[in-house]
């Protein structure tokens, strides 16, 4: 066989560097953002940027060394978070961020490993991984951005879509029951479980800080507006309208049993820090229960 191939355009490092010069370093958070990657791809009114910003603020106030933190994402609009953070970031396959992060954490136990992904990614295709990582009490912080639909692929229904909600794949209204993510995380063994909305940015920062200070499987659900995918078919208005609903309908109930923490489409939204408990992590148990015995022969 002979080959006939095209000459692709080369990578232009110069242009790239110029873009960095022009667009980077103009906001205090740029220190945590990958040079040349902002503006991000998210829609106007999307809540994802707030969650990213709150994460940065939490990390900054805990003085977590940037090179001691890795972020792993799955696929989706939320999955793109990894690509914007200026640290070691891994954008894996759909649903597989948690097992990838598990391998990374076990190879580098001294690093903080954070998983950032969407509700579809973490609870539909990746649901099995999530419950097992929680069961093992793997030392990971999982931040799940719940926009009640599959944003990236154009607004299909997912495991969190409210009953009767309209999406492009539930044109007559959704007939499936949604998961209560906090309840599932709690029941699976998570040692820290919180739910906020993107309106509750300051509380979210506090939760992020707690996660950096705590060992074990920590889970934060953040409800965010997705005006493009979920807002439009359900007539929820703009991202701002949705943020106002979060402001007006949310009730902070710390320490409520997550089973009772509702988050209806139009009803009350219960937010708060639902669970904060202590339990040895996988690695602690492995070190004491396995490594110690194996090396003792």
């Amino acid at each position: 066989m002979r080959y006939k191939l095209v000459d692709p355009e080369p990578f232009r490092l110069g242009e790239f560097k110029q873009k960095i010069d022009e667009t980077h370093g103009i906001h205090p958070d740029d220190r945590y953002l990958k040079p040349g990657r902002i503006p991000h791809i998210w829609c106007p009114g999307c809540g994802l940027g707030i969650v990213l910003s709150a994460f940065i603020k939490g990390m900054d106030s805990m003085e977590v060394a940037i090179d001691n933190c890795a972020v792993v994402s799955g696929i989706g609009c939320t999955g793109r978070v990894a690509g914007y953070l200026n640290m070691d970031t891994y954008h894996t396959t759909h649903g597989r961020a948690i097992p990838f992060a598990t391998g990374l954490k076990l190879a580098k136990p001294e690093m903080e490993v954070v998983v950032f992904s969407g509700d579809g990614d973490l609870f539909a295709i990746g649901g099995n991984h999530l419950i097992h990582a929680a069961r093992r009490n793997m030392d990971l912080t999982v931040i799940c951005v719940n926009n009640f639909n599959y944003g990236m692929t154009g607004g299909q229904a997912g495991p969190t879509t409210h009953i009767a909600a309209k999406t492009v794949t539930t044109p007559y209204g959704n007939c499936e029951y949604p998961f209560n993510l906090t309840h599932l995380a709690y029941a699976s063994g998570a040692v820290y479980v919180a739910r906020w909305t993107s309106f509750h940015a300051r509380y979210l920062i506090e939760s992020v800080k707690k996660c950096f200070a705590k060992k074990g499987f920590k889970f934060i659900e953040v409800l965010t507006p997705c005006p493009t995918g979920y807002g439009r078919p359900n007539r929820l208005g703009s991202g701002l309208d949705q943020m106002k609903v979060y402001r007006d309908n949310s009730e902070i109930r710390n320490d409520i049993n997550p089973m009772e923490a509702e988050s209806g489409l139009n009803g009350p939204i219960i937010v708060g820090e639902f669970v904060d408990r202590e339990k040895p992590t996988f690695f602690e148990r492995y070190t004491e229960g396995v490594l110690a015995k194996a090396s003792a022969g």
């Binding site: 103009i26 906001h27 205090p28 958070d29 740029d30 953002l33 902002i38 503006p39 991000h40 998210w42 829609c43 106007p44 009114g45 999307c46 809540g47 994802l48 940027g49 707030i50 990213l52 910003s53 709150a54 603020k57 993107s198 309106f199 509750h200 940015a201 300051r202 509380y203 920062i205 703009s238 991202g239 701002l240 943020m243 106002k244 402001r247």
Partner: protein, 110 residues
């Protein structure tokens, strides 16, 4: 909380005065900062930025108190504030706080 008169310790109350930085071309016009600024000091600029959105601007004769909320709540990393100076609490502030606690301009997370 409602103040019916200037608090007794008002002499000692120091308010920070923020300097606001708006990176107009990063803004996507979501209006989160304008809506949720607890001091209601922002409004949409009549001008368009490069992307075609109206970024926020400071309302004339208003003062940012560097609370930092807009910085967190902006999804685009387009706005932030720093402390410019600190000044004493005055009668004018009292009136403003009264307005706010009566529901007008309800701030974040109440």
């Amino acid at each position: 909380m409602k103040f019916w008169r200037l608090p007794l310790d008002a002499e000692e109350q120091i308010i920070p005065v923020g300097r606001l930085f708006i990176i107009a071309d990063r803004c996507k016009g979501c209006n989160f900062c304008i809506e949720f600024c607890p001091n209601k000091v922002l409004e949409a600029s009549p001008d368009f930025n490069r992307k075609g959105y109206h970024p926020p601007v400071m309302k004339p004769n208003h003062e940012c108190n560097n609370c930092g909320l807009c910085e967190v709540i902006c999804p685009e990393f387009a706005i932030y504030s720093t402390v410019e100076e600190k000044r004493r609490f005055t009668e004018v502030d009292l009136v403003r706080y009264e307005e706010m606690s009566s529901g007008e301009g309800k701030g974040e997370q109440e």
